[in-house]
Amino acid sequence: MSNVGIVSYGANIPRYRIKSSDIAIAWRKDPESIVNGLGIIEKSVPSLDQDVATISVEAARASLSRCDIDPQNIGAIYVGSESHPYAVKPTGTIVGEAIGATPNLMVADYEFACKAGTAAIQTCMALVISKMIKYGLAIGADTSQAAPGDALEYAASAGGAGFIIGEKNTIASINDTCSFTTDTPDFWRREGRKYPAHGGRFTGEPAYFKHITSCAKNLMERLDTKPDDYDYAIFHQPNGKFPVTVAKMLGFSYEQVKQGLLCPVIGNTYSGASMLGLASVLDVAKPGDRIFLTSYGSGAGSDSFDITVTNQIEKMPRDRAPSVAKMIEDKEYIDYATYAKFRDLLYWE
């Protein structure tokens, strides 16, 4: 088997926060029932000058600062998002130029709702294993949209993480990966539409839970592993409740998911969600730790990964970039009016 794995990683979370209770008050909803119902206390909000390009560049720079890779050796950049700044013109080229990886590299932007980032990891793995590239940079980032007053408004937030995939000096080996994909229309945004639509309760059992549990079970069956074999587990986190429930359904404990569970304090960062969860785990992981990750993207599909942390992580200067925990702590609250301005909810002529 290949030595493919994670060589470095970096994350970025905008520092503005809005509390779920403040959104609830703006819409005359009961704050307590909203917070308890969704399990989200507050969410990150991108400022006027932050988008998927800036978040991706920040994450990419953080990942490069933790290793000594020459950016020119990065042979591919894939950015997964459902809020690319341009409909036509890649985010990946901006990232490539900003980190000095151009011009001899492959670039493409990915979209698969909330799992485009993990799909980018799989592509980079394949290119590395096939020796087409030495290093690949996979990024998942979003400044996700939510219609004013929609249930999504309490969750849709901003953030992202990037992973340099390679075979040398890996801090974590990716032992295996698999995907589970069907055509399930639980959540979508049509071309030209500003806000996504969703199928209400249909987004739960037949979408999120079915895909994550099926994909996770497939991988554990293939590897003959069980939940107890893992130190950490990360699941896509559209709200604070679903990842804990799906973990329980699969036999993982709350202790295993706690470190990667960020949604309650930063919201759902969509393509960044499971990637940031993984970054948070790598911030504290020790050699030998085994990590299970399953992402979920509406439409619908899941990617599962079995990861083992290597001794190399002790040599990595993790403090050269801010940890996920530090970015979560470094926050400034805004009110709904400021949120409305930042998220372009206001209308004037």
Binding site: D30, G199, R201, F202, E205, P206
Partner: protein, 388 residues
Amino acid sequence: MRDVAVIGLGITKFGELWDKSFRQLIAEAGSKAILDAGISGKEIDALYVGSMSAGRFIGQEHVGALVADCAGFSHTHIPAVRVESACASGGLAIRQGFLTVASGMNDIVVVGGVEKMTDVVGSEATNTLATAADQEWEAFFGATFPGLYAMIATRHMYEYGTTREHLAQVAVKNHANGALNPNAQFQREISIENVLNAIMVSYPLSILDCSPVSDGATAVILCAADKAKKYTDKPVKIIGSGQASDTLALHGRKDICTLEATVHAAKTAYKQANIQPKDIDVAEVHDCFTIAEILAIEDLGFVKKGEGGKAIDKKITTLDGEIPVNTSGGLKAKGHPVGATGVAQVAEIVLQLRGEADKRQVDGAKIGLTHNIGGSGASCIIHILEAM
């Protein structure tokens, strides 16, 4: 009029059935009923199906022919009739089937009820259900059924001292019964505190005071009673059938704490059956909201007007009470696929009178009643059944 008996029944699971379509559901219920009755397709003279709003829920009208087709009767060319009376569509379909057999026009008919409600989002389901209210005078001003029944509930609280705890007891009882019904949408018990602390929909009704949006279907086979023993050892006779109407809008009523349609339909059915309310051993009533079950047991004459809340508090209507109500779990816990509900009520009573209701069996039940309401009480269909 000749006597009519139920000789077979078929029920699908109720719930959010993402992997089953409208036609799959009704075909499943129909074929189970036909197998249960042990009849052949050639013996069926006609088909009646209750469906409130397939046009809005799944974009499909012409439901009578569709059901005949998907159930495999297109080649026998039998008459197929879709019946609509809002949430009482199923009950009315039973009555139409009953009348044609009683009249001698048909010997054996299949009566089905079906709704596929989860293909639309929650707000669209609420709006579709609200089409059963008065569009000009209620829905136009934003009223939905939770709001209308909440007004009934607050008035009942004011007039008779009914409390939120009384209302909650209805949901607690029906969930306890639903936990014993393998076809119920919710098979778990809940507490009064769960109901009181649940998200408020429209005061005083929390989400656990409201029946859910559901998919599901049920079918029964009706047969001339003198031929019923040919097919089953346990036919159940329909000894009373009553139907009544009232103002479509709530504000037109003399007293919003009484559903006059229930009072009148019950009077007709009791008279036809030649029985009194005290003779009923088990009843399935229309608990679309908890307050609706309190009104039902009052208007059906089980308790005095205004005593409904207290009667539930005294456990009169629990499974081991004086008159068990909604042993299936009711609309609240069993689920409320609107077109199927009235037929499912009859199916539950038939199971009870056959002695086949398993863990929720009411010992020695001989006479049962079904009570199906359309809208906020603008239509009501009641059937009284007796083991033969």
